[in-house]
Amino acid sequence: MTTVTNMPLSDLLKSFKLKTKQQELLIRVSILCLVYILAFITRLFSVLRYESMIHEFDPYFNYRTTLYLTQNGFYDFWNWFDYESWYPLGRIVGGTLYPGLMVTAVLIYRILHFLRFAVHIREVCVLTAPFFASNTTLVAYFFGKEIWDTGAGLVAAILIAICPGYISRSVAGSYDNEGVAIFALLFTFYLFVKAVNTGSLAWSLASAFGYFYMVSAWGGYVFIINLIPLYVLVLLITGRYSMRLYVAYNCMYVLGMLLAMQIRFVGFQHVQSGEHMAAMGVFFLMQVFYFLDWVKHMLSDTKLFQAFLRITVTCAVVVGTIALGLGMLSGYISPWTGRFYSLLDPTYAKDHIPIIASVSEHQPTAWSSFMFDYHILLFLFPAGLYFCFKRLSDATIFIVMYGLTSMYFAGVMVRLILVATPAVCLISAIAVSATVKNLTVLLRSKNKGVLTGSTKGSSSSRASSKALLDQSQPFQKNGAIALLFGAFYLLSKYATHCTWVTSEAYSSPSIVLAARGAHGNRVIFDDYREAYFWLRQNTPVDAKVMSWWDYGYQITAMGNRTVIVDNNTWNNTHIATVGRALSSYEDEAIEIMRSLDVDYVLVVFGGVTGYSSDDINKFLWMVRIGGGVFPVIKEPDYLVNGEYRVDKGAAPKMLNCLMYKLCYYRFGEMLTEYGKPPGYDRARGVEIGNKDIKLEHLEEAFTTSNWIVRIYKVKPPNNRW
């Protein structure tokens, strides 16, 4: 009975049994699906720990503009003049932002609504970055497949899915340009490499569109427009010029440039700015190369060709230099911007542009943060480079160049670790994949060898030689197994490290602060929103709020009030004016504030809670930036023997400047910690130096429950009689 039923069953099973190739495809697709989901859900820690909210500073501006775009449509958005920021200057929002992110989010929102998913735009914004991170894993897979093989592609997808360097900018709620831009960057690179490998016009067209999307999304497109010419140049120098390269580069450059000009913020920079000139130079060089190639084909005489080559190259270089020089002199081509300089020279910003140097994410990267963000990838990266050099091709040259240049930039600025992450993941994936493949091949071949050796015995001379080989095998095999286990151990360590970093370090929204209470319970400091919501509800609609620029975007987005300066630091003088007001005495400051129509002043103060990134700790930058424009403000006035302090030994100007007064107003009566005198500043661990603060022109309007945000109202001028 059983045999009768078993027979058709086994037949049925047999018919379901897949061929090896199908099995491989199935495994690959399911791994990719799992990686896709993993990349998404690992970024949801912040939603689970806190709530579905927008994080940090810049994302609030993006959210606000996205909201505007959903409510008013694209044309209003494009022509939007924002009166609520940079009072009294205002800001032409449509012309000063990269619209890619907002348009993407609104597109997703519209599609979902078309499919009758009644989601709120906020949810779309919160989940945009994880969604694009998932897409990046797919691109990484295809990229890895293109430059090495499918194994490397799969490993690259897995590595990039959980790499902390990428997660730091793409957790749920981190609604920033980088969220979509890394996807666009890698996608453009992938399409370009594909175009170079195939010489197909279609792929290079696709890469031009990828580039367009990147330009619309993030200012980091400059990296693409410089890396690709550099890569082409390297290929030309190493004698790897081909028709494929010619087609790929020319199509991508010309179309990409034309498309990029459609973005208002970028405009004609591709032909007018120094940062984009390398691409144009290489474009012309390509034409010269093509021409020379043709001449070489026509001329059979090598001597004549050599002479011709010399003349042409000199002419081309001379013409190019003259054109560049003329352009520079006439001002048609703008010189490199400070930001670009500061990328090439890490010390530049510190000396010349304090506003760039003041941002914590623009600091040079410490080794620890490399270790934190890359973990084992840092060691795998050189190994991967070795494998790439061993099997040099157009594609591997590209990834090597991408890896090396972006690693340099990552060393210059902390935030550029993000740009290097895909390259590091891909190169490390090559290392992992190649090593594991070599080891498994070794293991497999040995198994076969052992089998043949045992069956054939020691009858023939061939067999004996195999037996000799076999004697060395156990050691090799064990070594291979040990190495495989080692690799497995390292990779699992990597996975646990990534999860830990994501959950502990990169998933806090920084709007809501969480701390552990005395009994181990979770205490939430929601002071920022308390203050912003108070502003939104209880101040006049046209009130102007002055604060340091860090909080500008949040005040406009959450508080819905006009600010003097915000995070789009386009006008250094304006920021310096605010810096000057905050670092002057109150009666000097009131003049500046009246001239700016300020109604409220907002400061962030961490003395009660021990929150260290408050305005007192940022104050020296305000002095520096203010002093950079207004020489009345001198940094040494605020220091005592080059030391920055707020206690009794502080400089007199420090103790009486507006920022000090606003932060510590009536703080001297406050007992913050048991066993310490009143007015003990927990963030800096000192008792404050000036406890008797009187305000003449300002009055306390609101202080949040943990004192983190303090808002003051500017009193109207006194009646003259």
Partner: protein
């Protein structure tokens, strides 16, 4: 031109009212109030007035209508009027609620407004009955001073009349006013007037004629916060999968004396009994039992300061606004919660379903200026109708939620000036076929099914446009025997010729011709040795016989 017209109008009105006056039978003279006692509770910002009337029918005809009169300034703030009669004696008393309806009387002096109480049994002549009337006023305490600092306490005015305004003659009346504390700054004296602790007694006054009025003004301390919900939108969404989702959108304002000047956190935290005593620190919402997934948020995110206490009879949600509300400060927020459907949805006898839910605002001691209740019925429900115990404005809307095609019917009910007394039940009746419940799951399954079908189809169908390039043409492999000779191909589709020991990569095929409806394209691929020569043939007709004549096979000498 205008003046004569206006004069004519006035004349017309006068004539008209005269006419009415003549025609109207006046019931007021038939009744008189033998004893009236009024107790006014001023302890919170909702003024509660308990009125006990002993009504006597002095006329000859039985009457069942009793009029209550209000001055026009009070009517605007009047939230509700209830009347009841106690019947029976001692422990067997039963309470009978009476109908109360606003009435317009044409000859009302000084625009007095009226409410009519309809007695259950007409009052015969000579009989008397005792009525208990309760009415509530909102926004009737006027803060004075209108702006106070953080450390000051809140003083308010209350205006009323020492004598009860009534269309009837009142033989004896007394009014008691209860202030929240003993701090009464001043009060108007209309003798006899007494004050004992928190209570002020006006009267007793004897034999006052109808429409007597004697304004009084009381200035006293009231430090209770005045939570006023300017607008509340409650949305109740019915899902027949077993859940009732309630979303309530509040615009809350502190209606007391406006905050003036500084808000000092250090004073507020260290001396809470002296500072901001009238500030609104928290609110209590009473929610139905078995409430789940409660949230409390506003436009910029979750508000973490809320506590939920549940037991089997009720749930209490204690919410704190983001910041303490001082007078004039505003806060908007949103409360949402889910409820089990079986507690609120029932089937009526005529096979219709009805939702039974509370109408008012769940916050305790709150005045709601404008309330909108929206009941979102499931998609596909028909004939909605609402039954509300008091008059409301009604209309219908359509709402699109997840996966809706035709949209859901929304029953919208609006009412102004609500007090907690209005938290009574209302019903929304509708018909619904359970088949509609399956619409959305079916839609989803279909969509997924179609998606997978599309995937399968995409993998199995070659959608590429057939191009004329030789690669895509049917190929015939000729394997060619050495030594070279002119091959004759038998009429078969695949003719194979083996080619051995030819020098690789130097074969060229010259002028091949094909006959028999075939065209030979001179496309030649040479594989690695042993060489295969691939000839691509384009089949022009569907002939079974095929003959190819290769004229020259030229073997080039290797360099």
């Amino acid at each position: 031109m205008e003046a004569p017209i206006r004069a004519r109008e006035i004349l017309g009105f006068t004539l008209l009212s005269l006419l009415f006056f003549v025609c109207r039978s006046s019931p007021s003279h038939n009744l008189l109030i033998s004893n009236a006692e009024r107790r006014i509770d001023l302890s919170s910002h909702i003024v509660k007035v308990y009125l006990t009337l002993k009504v006597e029918n002095a006329g000859s005809t039985p009457t069942s209508e009793i009029l209550l009169a209000f001055p026009p300034t009070q009517v605007d703030h009047l939230a509700t009027v209830e009347a009841l009669v106690t019947k029976g004696k001692r422990k067997k008393t039963t309470i009978v609620h009476l109908d109360v309806k606003p009435t317009e009387l044409p000859d009302a002096p000084n625009e007095t407004k009226y409410f009519t109480i309809y007695l259950a049994n007409p009052l015969n002549s000579g009989e008397s009955t005792t009525l208990e009337v309760l009415y509530l006023f909102t926004h009737s305490l006027e803060p004075f001073p209108a702006e106070i600092g953080q450390s000051e306490s809140q003083l308010v005015f209350y205006r009323d009349s020492a004598l009860i305004l009534s269309p009837y003659h009142i033989k004896q009346q007394t009014t008691f006013l209860k202030a929240p504390s003993t701090k009464v700054e001043s009060f108007t004296r209309v003798e006899p007037t007494n004050r004992a602790g928190t209570e002020m007694k006006y009267g007793p006054y004897e034999d006052r004629p109808s429409y007597s009025f004697s304004p009084i003004l009381i200035h006293f301390e009231n430090n209770s916060p005045f939570p006023v919900v300017e607008e509340l939108v409650r949305e109740v969404e019915i899902s027949h999968w077993g859940n009732l989702q309630v979303t309530e959108q509040y615009t809350l304002v502190h209606g007391g004396a406006r905050h003036k000047g500084v808000f000092s956190r250090v004073d507020y935290q260290s001396r809470p009994s002296l500072n901001g005593v009238s500030s609104l620190r928290y609110l209590l919402a009473r929610l139905p039992p078995r409430v789940h997934s409660v949230y409390y948020r506003d436009e910029i995110g979750n508000i973490s300061s809320s506590h939920l206490r549940t037991d089997s009879r009720k749930s209490e949600l204690e919410i704190e606004p983001r910041y303490p509300l001082f007078g004039g400060w505003k806060a908007t927020f949103l409360i949402g919660y889910g409820l089990p459907l079986q507690d609120f949805l029932f089937e009526s006898s005529d096979d219709r379903r009805y939702l039974n839910f509370t109408f008012g605002c769940p916050l305790l001691d709150t005045v709601v200026d404008k309330l909108t209740v929206k009941v979102v019925l499931p998609e596909g429900s028909k004939d909605p109708s609402a039954v509300v115990p008091f008059p409301v404005e009604q209309h219908f809307e359509t709402k699109y939620s997840y996966l809706d095609v035709v949209g859901r019917t929304v029953v919208v009910m609006e009412k102004k000036n609500l007090v907690p007394v209005h938290n009574s039940h209302f019903q929304v009746y509708y018909t619904f076929k359970p088949m509609f419940m399956l619409a959305e799951p079916l839609m989803l399954t279909t969509a997924f099914f179609l998606f997978f079908v599309a995937c399968v189809a995409y993998l199995h169908i070659d959608l590429s446009i057939p191009s004329m390039s030789p690669r895509n043409l049917p190929k015939f492999r000729l394997k060619y025997h050495s030594p070279p000779e002119i091959p004759q191909i038998t009429p078969r589709h695949t003719a194979t010729f083996v080619c051995r020991r030819l020098p690789p990569s130097v074969l060229t095929l010259h002028h091949p011709t094909a006959g028999g409806g075939c065209h030979l394209i001179s496309h030649l691929t040479i594989g690695p040795p042993p060489c295969c020569i691939m000839l691509s043939l384009l089949l022009l007709s569907n002939s079974h016989s095929l003959e190819i004549l290769v004229e020259h096979l030229f073997v080039a000498p290797s360099p």
